[in-house]
């Protein structure tokens, strides 16, 4: 039997390959995210100062809302037969969680990177501190990837995907706050370390929760 990281890597590779074939994220979710970013200025008005002020907040809100859809994409959800197959191959449920979260994180990273220039062009938020932003983007992607994967596992175990928004909403608030406040802090020269620390803590907590709950959630879903 293969080791933990081999299992996680193979699951992530399979998820990403499936995504490339189906194009759910790149052909559907990302264009819709870009459209949402374009619609907001039409709704609130095109005043440059206003758009500049709300730009980073809108970007992170769209990333969060559509990011959860990325995490819940159909191509990343195993059917019962595939779940059984993985169980009977002796795959560690924690490795499954890590693999799925890893693939989702990479897709979210791509999502953020594609939407970033769109937000810059539409809102001109005049971001500063690019090195910090370079650290912020993957931290948010990891957090949302872990959160979405964990929420999907919980929803599967209780056979109700309708509960996912209720699970995701409260847990995503610290991530959204930390991301938008970091951007504002960089822009206005305020301290951002506390927000970055909050993001790192959230990522770690979600990773630990996902790994520890992987087996019970898997068995509860049967």
């Amino acid at each position: 039997m293969s080791g933990f990281w081999t299992q996680a890597l193979e699951i992530a590779r399979k998820d990403l390959r499936t995504e490339v074939r189906t194009g759910e994220v790149f052909l559907i979710t990302i264009p819709f995210g870009a459209v949402a970013l374009m619609l907001i200025p039409l709704a609130v008005g095109t005043e440059t100062a206003l758009l500049r002020n709300i730009g980073s907040g809108m970007y992170w809100t769209i990333v969060l809302l559509f990011g959860v859809l990325v995490a819940l994409r159909q191509s990343g959800v195993e059917g019962t037969t595939q779940e059984d197959l993985l169980s009977l191959l002796g795959i560690d449920p924690a490795a499954r969680f890590a693999g799925r979260a890893g693939a989702t994180t990479l897709l979210l990273l791509a999502f953020e990177l594609v939407l970033g220039p769109v937000a810059l062009a539409l809102y001109d938020p005049q971001p500063k501190g690019w090195l910090w932003i370079a650290a912020l983007i993957p931290l948010v992607a990891i957090g949302l990837g872990l959160l979405g994967t964990l929420a999907a596992a919980i929803a599967t175990s209780i056979a109700s995907m309708a509960l996912v928004p209720l699970l995701v909403a409260p847990l995503s608030v610290p991530i959204l706050l930390a991301a938008s406040q970091t951007m504002d802090g960089l822009r206005y020269g305020n301290t951002i370390l506390g927000w970055i620390l909050l993001l790192v803590t959230m990522d770690l907590l979600l990773a630990v929760a996902g790994v520890l709950s992987a087996r019970p959630l898997q068995e509860a879903s049967r």
Partner: protein, 217 residues
């Protein structure tokens, strides 16, 4: 390997208020192949899922490959069980080769086994075709390739003969012979008695979730 692969004592399964299995007693010994027959809804698939440790019994006790069905030890023997169910366990958007390689890598077998296994089940020419583009029979063959790679000690086949041509049906016999020669065992569910009974050492019938005596038609 333990001599008794499966030992079920009074196993019951209820889904809500509906009893699916009732006080079922069944043993499968090493080297033994059991045929399971029964009408639709008699509990055959549920029984296979219980034996595969994928469904916990609601009453009774049982051991599979030495592990109690309710102990955490069952997680450690799952990789020694090979189940082929009604629905092919393939990823539809991956090719047959990608599906098989995924299995081989997770099972810790080398990539070199992939081509050989696909060749053995007659899918060498279709290995680049996505599973979703394959017929039911081809998908079944791909699942047989999985069993050739993972070499389970206990093989559970649920209607494995359904929709197969004669050559593919011979693969079922090949897989059953293989597990028997390794000292393992198998449980075969089939409505095609003429194909299943020659493979089985004994045939039992499920009636309303309990074992009954089967009489060949």
């Amino acid at each position: 390997m333990t001599d008794r692969l499966v030992d079920l004592q009074g196993i019951g399964v209820r889904l809500g208020d509906t009893p699916i299995l009732r006080g079922l007693v069944l043993q499968v010994d090493a080297g033994e192949v059991i045929g399971l027959v029964g009408a639709n809804g008699s509990g055959k698939t549920t029984l296979l899922r219980v034996v595969a440790t994928l469904m916990a019994p609601t009453s009774g006790q049982g051991r599979v490959l030495g592990a109690a069905l309710t102990d955490e030890a069952r997680f450690d023997i799952r990789h020694r069980i090979g189940l082929i169910g009604h629905t092919p366990a393939l990823y539809p958007n991956l090719s047959l080769e990608e599906n098989t390689r995924f299995i081989a890598r997770l099972a810790g077998a080398g990539d070199g086994m992939v081509g050989a296994a696909l060749d053995q089940v007659g899918l060498a020419g279709a290995r680049h075709r996505r599973a979703i583009q394959c017929s039911h029979g081809m998908q079944r063959r791909a699942e047989f390739a999985r069993l050739l790679i993972t070499k389970p000690d206990l093989v559970l086949l649920d209607e494995a003969h359904a929709g197969l041509d004669r050559h593919a049906a011979d693969l079922v016999a090949f897989i059953v012979d293989g597990v028997r020669s390794r000292g393992g065992g198998a449980m075969l569910v089939s409505h095609e008695h003429n194909r299943m009974t020659p493979l089985a050492d004994r045939v039992v019938e499920l009636r309303n979730g309990a074992i009954g005596t089967w009489e060949a038609p």
